[in-house]
Symmetry: C2
Subunit: 184 residues, 2 copies
DNA sequence: CGCCGAGTTGAACTGAATCAAGAAACGTGG
DNA sequence: CCACGTTTCTTGATTCAGTTCAACTCGGCG
């Protein structure tokens, strides 16, 4: 599973892949588990084998705003915190019982130093995320609540039906009430 | 200049740096020059030595929406188009007479293959951009027009006074009229 | 059975868009 | 150096999408 995903990006040899994967740990986590609390340093990069997670942050008034959803086959972390050892603005939360593979910064650094291909892998993953973030930005800027929801359905069809409405609403930058009205 | 910038990211040796920079070409461009037209494939990655550029796209109704500003010391390109050889959604335009250094995909690929450090450089540049895009996303989602403008002043203080108001407005996802009212 | 979180519905309010017109700044050629 | 056209910016009046606040429904679960 994680094998297949990595191979889609880079043609690793079997040995390389085995070595790389030996640095990951399998973690089974439950719905509502919090992997990272805001203000702490995010120590791990996670690969979501099966399940869903989200990142969110708290506004001054205490409302939580979903920043991103991480579905099957995606890497999940608080990027600047993890890569730059700074406190995370974001919380990472698991939304349904999930199977993850995690790797620490130290171990990833070993792999990044050892394999040019891993460096490239991370670059490609970043590029993919970057493209998606810009998509979302475009979807939100100058678009109505309905158009935003359509974007969500198009971009994350599998996720849209597994998640509490409130999370989707804050992800799209609208209120839960508005989203509820749109759906009918 | 470009030397110093690259050295901030990675401790290249003199030989490495000379070799790398020999693959770049210096380009002097003028205000209103368009480097990439939407629909075409972006062939080059640019480094802005001095000046300002922006990326924008056209909405159905023909209005142009600024997506990003590229000031001194930043890399500028249409990322997915350049790295994945796909047609660009975005236009790249120069906003004041500028000095750029450009490199083609082919030459960059050579450098990426030859130097593990260049691969890392690009990864770090991506990480920086990713962080900034998420910042912008947070600034726009659930924030008033005034708060967005404050974000702009904080994030891009040098740029805010060199650019037509309309570009800033569309960048922030508000209308020019509203921005004009906010400023006083 | 009654509680509790999640979702829906309603009515009043508001920030920002839209439409329209005028003022200021810019640059280009005579 | 001034006149003219173009672009950029400001200001005003109106309108509307979406927020806010509050009450109510529904389904699951102890």
């Amino acid at each position: 599973m994680i094998r297949d995903y990595l191979l889609e990006f880079i043609p690793f040899s079997d040995e390389e892949l085995n070595d790389i994967l030996s640095h990951f740990e399998k973690e089974c986590v439950q719905k509502n588990d919090v992997l990272i609390v805001g203000g702490q340093i995010c120590k791990k990069l996670y690969f979501v084998e099966q399940g869903i997670g989200r990142s969110y942050y708290l506004k001054q008034d205490g409302k939580d705003i979903t920043q991103w959803f991480f579905g099957d086959g995606k890497f999940m972390t608080s990027a600047d915190s993890f890569f730059q050892h700074t406190p995370s603005i974001y919380y990472l939360e698991i939304l349904e019982d999930s199977v993850l593979h995690s790797i620490s910064k130290e171990k990833l650094d070993i792999l990044l130093g050892k394999y040019h291909k891993v460096e490239k892998l991370i670059r490609l993953v970043f590029l993919e995320i970057l493209t998606q973030v810009f998509h979302k930005l475009n979807a939100i800027q100058f678009h109505t609540a309905k158009e935003r929801y359509d974007y969500m359905l198009a971009e994350l069809p599998d996720i849209s039906y597994r998640i509490p409405l409130g999370h989707i609403a804050s992800y799209l930058g609208i209120t839960q009430e508005t989203l509820s009205r749109i759906r009918k």
